[in-house]
């Protein structure tokens, strides 16, 4: 069970943030925009991560990773760079939509009190 720890942690992040897809403007339903936001950043961070691993700046505990590898790193580390930014995007789109809704409510209330 231990070797799924990192993968389960990432799965938990996706699960917890999933409802935000429906509260905000949506992230998964804009796949093109998501890809174009994610891909360039992913490329840079993967290179950084690969260099850090090769240079022994950090490494991963074999006890807590699945053992499935992509070049230079465990699969989990590769997925980290996709999952975490998606969680960030879902948070931002939801907060933006909430603030917009609050502003609309406030404007409506102001209009009503002026009449």
């Amino acid at each position: 069970m231990d070797k799924w720890q990192y993968l389960l942690l990432l799965g938990g992040c996706l699960l917890i943030t999933l409802p935000l897809e429906f509260l905000g403007g949506g992230v998964y339903r804009q796949p093109r925009r998501l890809f174009r936001s994610l891909a360039p950043v992913l490329a840079v961070f993967l290179v950084w991560d690969a260099i850090a691993i090769v240079a022994d700046v950090w490494h991963y505990n074999p006890r807590y990773v699945s053992g499935i590898n992509v070049p230079f790193m465990p699969l989990e580390e590769f997925l980290f760079f996709i999952v975490i930014p998606i969680c960030g995007l879902l948070t931002y789109t939801t907060v933006s939509a909430s603030l917009r809704r609050l502003r609309q409510l406030r404007d409506k209330a102001a209009q009503r009190s002026r009449r």
């Binding site: 942690l9 925009r33 174009r36 994610l38 991963y60 505990n61 760079f81």
Partner: protein, 109 residues
């Protein structure tokens, strides 16, 4: 702490993201309250997730002590992780917001 193989690139990444926004993308994201509220929420969850990944009692990620400042807070999280995380999330948010904005004048449509 001799190599600074983590501290230096972590600081640099923050500078690169700031320069990218101020010189190239110019989205205005840093002036939006929604951004700062979101980052506060992200920070809260980062402490939980990163705290789990880096806890010294059963670490998933192991850091070479020579390559970071040695400062770990809160719990056992290397402080560099917060710069790393900030750059990762902010860079993606900047590109996301940029694509939602109408093109500047000078280019067609």
């Amino acid at each position: 702490m001799t190599g600074l193989g983590y501290t230096l690139p972590a600081v640099l990444s923050v500078i690169v993201v700031c320069v990218l926004e101020s010189k190239v993308l110019r989205t205005g994201l840093f002036r939006k309250p929604a951004y700062w509220i979101s980052m506060a929420i992200v920070l809260g969850f980062q402490v939980l997730v990163d705290g789990w990944l880096t806890k010294l009692s059963a670490p998933i990620v192991l850091y070479n002590e020579r390559h970071h400042s040695g400062l770990r807070f809160p719990w056992d999280i290397p402080v560099e992780d917060f710069l790393f995380g900030w750059s990762l999330v902010t860079a993606v948010l900047l590109l996301w917001v940029k694509q939602g904005q109408p093109r500047q004048n000078g280019s067609k449509r």
